[in-house]
């Protein structure tokens, strides 16, 4: 155990990172924090239209055009070199669907990729703080991201996805209202006959009791 700790200390921190993806009117912004120094080169190159700013020794920000991010199947994360675990969280206005090939398994409010263990999650959360509970935190190992050059999946403005759903809901609404009107029309005659029968039965009863 002591030897393992010593080896880890000599090798430096495990190159984990945490990324928070949020929207600006025209851009997608990725705020990243590394356990390693941001002076290190990126593990995977960023696309040409993305700009990177180093904000501090461990923090950096990548900004890319929104339409580009929505069109591509990969979210280009600024990853540190080496093998580590990377946590990605999204603003609630973003609807992100990870690629099924990543095989992310849900664990409560977390989605955990291959080769990511409980201890890795704890280490990442200790280093970068616990993720917000209102958003799904995705934990992916470097090997799952390196091949594609980022986090594979489809990113959309949550509103756009909702608008599509709204179209379907509108069609369903029309269908249900038409159904209700049809039922109302179909049952009208029977209800009137039932009502007339009730009145007649009452009249007969009152005549019988006289």
């Amino acid at each position: 155990m002591l030897a393992a700790t010593l080896v880890l200390a000599l090798a430096g921190p495990i190159p984990d990172s945490a990324h928070y993806v949020h929207l600006e009117p025209e851009h997608v912004v990725i705020d990243s924090e590394w356990s390693a120094s941001t002076q290190e080169p990126l593990a995977t190159p960023l696309p040409d239209d993305a700009t990177m700013e180093v904000l501090g020794e461990h923090t950096l920000r990548v900004t890319m055009p929104r339409d580009e991010a929505e069109r591509d199947d990969v979210l280009p994360l600024p990853l540190p070199p080496g093998d580590g675990v990377h946590r990605v969280t999204f603003d609630h206005r973003i609807s992100f669907r990870p690629d099924p090939s990543l095989e992310l398994a849900p664990r409560g409010t977390r989605a955990v990729g291959r080769n990511v263990h409980r201890a890795d999650i704890r280490r990442v959360d200790m280093a970068f703080g616990r993720p917000r509970k209102d958003t799904t935190a995705h934990y992916v190992h470097s090997e799952g991201l390196r091949g594609t050059g980022g986090f594979a999946g489809s990113l959309k403005d949550a509103k756009t996805r909702r608008q599509r759903l709204m179209l379907f809901a509108s069609a369903l609404f029309i269908f249900v209202v038409a159904g209700l009107m049809a039922i109302a029309r179909a049952v009208r005659r029977r209800a009137e006959a039932e009502h007339a029968d009730e009145i007649l039965a009452r009249e007969i009863d009152s005549l019988a009791t006289r």
Binding site: H92, R132, F173
Partner: protein
């Protein structure tokens, strides 16, 4: 009194828990569909008032607000009917649905009655309009909820009350639970951004901050 006015009057009585004893199955179904369709019209009236500052929003609200009401109610029905079947109530499923549709009718009627005030304030005040818009919606939901639950206590024994209140609570809770999501789906309904525009995500994140 013409047929529509008579039906509206009957529905108001039902929403107050006064269900006529001699109601046959066909008349119950007719009242349920009548209540549902009237509720949609009332909800559209409120929607028109709430979006009165922007013609396109008002036009959209004519369909969006009734949609929110209808889908929230429909989404709650399976859970409510199941709870009703599992509880030991002597009330028929049709009666439960009748009292549910009656209270939704009363709630949306309340919104429609408040609609002119909402429209006037939206058109004349930057400050009071949004408060009145949201406030009238809350009042309508509260009216519907209170009337619906109150119906469970009217003229029944203590044991029967217990078995009647469970399905009613399930219906009310599920309706209120899904409503924010349908509001988010249909947003914008009000001209300004509200906490319900993004559904439960924003409500949760407000709580997390």
């Amino acid at each position: 009194m013409n047929k529509t006015a008579k039906m509206l009057s009957e529905l108001l009585d039902i929403s107050r828990g006064r269900v006529p004893e001699d109601l046959g199955p066909a008349r119950r179904v007719r009242l349920i569909t009548g209540a549902a369709l009237s509720s949609l019209v009332f909800a559209a009236v409120w929607g028109l008032a709430a979006g009165s500052t922007a013609p396109l929003l008002a036009l959209g609200n004519l369909a969006k607000v009734p949609m929110v009401v209808l889908f929230s109610v429909l989404a709650a029905l399976p859970a409510g009917v199941l709870a009703h079947r599992l509880s030991d109530s002597t009330e028929s499923t049709r009666s439960l649905l009748l009292s549910f549709s009656g209270s939704v009718f009363a709630g949306t009627l309340c919104a429609a009655v408040l609609a002119p005030i909402v429209a006037v304030y939206y058109l004349t005040s930057e400050w009071a309009g949004p408060y009145l818009g949201m406030g009238s919606a809350f009042v309508s939901v509260a009216v519907a909820g209170v009337l619906f639950l109150h119906g469970a206590f009217k003229g029944v024994s203590r044991e029967e009350r217990r078995s009647r209140i469970i399905p009613k609570l399930v219906l009310a809770i599920v309706t209120l639970g899904v409503m924010p999501q349908f509001i988010a789906l249909a947003s914008p309904i009000l001209p300004e951004h509200t906490v319900f525009d993004e559904g439960v995500d924003v409500v949760a994140s407000e709580g997390a901050h």
